[in-house]
Symmetry: C2
Subunit: 252 residues, 2 copies
């Protein structure tokens, strides 16, 4: 019953690098969420070993054939889209426990680039096999759907940000979002290192890097945060949150 095909699964990219969901401290954030011991073991067998990336390396590029989705095991990524005419839009930043690559499912070809912003490691999840397994394990299927849906909801949030907020509101929302995600991973909500440049933040927020820099400076002047290059300390979370409500509380 559990003498399965495990012996055939040889991790190609990083031999000897054991990544078992059941042993992973991210399992509550990641794809195996809610699985039984036994089902988690079946997922382990499917996951094709880890892959390590140096800072700056691409996990995949727009145009690459889609085969797998990826779970961030450690490190930090950005995804971005670029058009023929040279426009570049960062569509997201991904940290441990988050899933990358779902853009490729629809056409079997990735539509964006995923780049490691620091030395990182991902778990490789072959998608066809994931589909096969998820048709047997209902909770896995449902969780996969939740993960994809969550991505859609997140994207709506970014649209809201880009469509309705002013520069400082965008940056405040961005910092609070990071803070909240770091918290969920057991890190300080108030103090963290940004892994991305001002230009990448700007691209994500639909702003120029100078505008991002100015907003940081102003937040610092006002005592909301302290900034030292990429090191951020949030000094006044409530007041930062208050920035998200427009200055004149326009209601109804």
């Amino acid at each position: 019953m559990h003498a399965n095909v495990k012996q055939n699964v040889i991790p190609i990219t990083a031999p000897g690098l054991k990544v078992a969901c059941s042993q992973c401290n991210l399992r509550e954030l990641c794809l195996p969420f809610g699985l039984s011991e036994n089902d988690m073991g079946r997922l382990d067998n499917l996951i094709g070993g880890g892959r390590k990336l140096k800072r700056g390396q691409h996990l995949y590029r727009a145009g690459d054939h889609f085969e797998s989705i990826f779970a961030v095991k450690a490190g930090f990524f950005k995804t971005d889209v670029l058009t023929e005419d040279g426009r570049d839009q960062v569509t997201g930043f991904q940290m441990a426990g988050e899933i990358l690559g779902m853009d490729g499912i629809s056409t079997e070809v990735h539509t964006c680039n995923a780049v490691a912003l620091e030395d990182s490691e991902v778990c490789l999840i072959p998608f066809t096999e994931l589909e096969m397994l998820s048709s047997e394990i209902h909770s896995l299927q449902h969780h996969l759907h939740k993960v994809m849906s969550r991505e859609i909801v997140r994207d709506h949030g970014v649209m809201m940000l880009l469509g309705t907020m002013r520069a400082e509101e965008r940056l405040a929302a961005f910092l609070l979002n990071l803070s909240q995600r770091f918290t969920a991973r057991g890190y300080s909500p108030a103090e963290f290192h940004l892994r991305m440049t001002r230009e990448e933040i700007g691209s994500y927020l639909g702003l120029k890097l100078e505008t991002v820099s100015r907003a940081f400076s102003r937040f610092q002047d006002e005592g909301l945060i302290s900034v030292q290059q990429k090191h951020i300390r949030i000094l006044d979370i409530p007041r930062l949150k208050a920035l998200l409500a427009p200055p004149d509380g326009r209601i109804g």
Copy 2:
């Protein structure tokens, strides 16, 4: 084997309104894409009758409990998100064959509103049952994943638009997108009625309604389109496309 529970399925919302995927001329655009005759029949059994909506009616609201996704059978919808502080962002416009409601999967609660912009009709697809069926029919499962992934990719396109484009580029992209979708449904690529107001277009594009109106007027002055309120005729598709490349072809 096929004497199933059909006799128990009583369409609640619109008795007698038969909606069979196998008979639907949208099946190539919609969820049943790629299914065999037999599998399509099984999908038919699951789909809980049609629901008609008058213009202005909500299909669902943010906060509603999630149970089903919906396929637009006829008509036109918008989805929008609103925040506590009164911001309103249109996240999409949906037409025949497109799927609505996937935002609700992640938390079992809808996070946006879906409103009919004209008298419309949807097919109701109970999600739990769809998951059950899709674990049996592999091509259905895969197509569902494709539909969700396509939504993610579409959202990235909107981010690109909101993050990098200027007002007239946004409107040009919007018109070309509509044109392309109408074409796919057998309508004229060049002539159509907008179902949404300038304000709704503006919300979607991250612009004020006046800016949308001005951009329309300018396009008309330049002979790109002809505008009569909501009636649009695109006169010069190539030149409209050319607007999307930035004025100075910034490359590399």
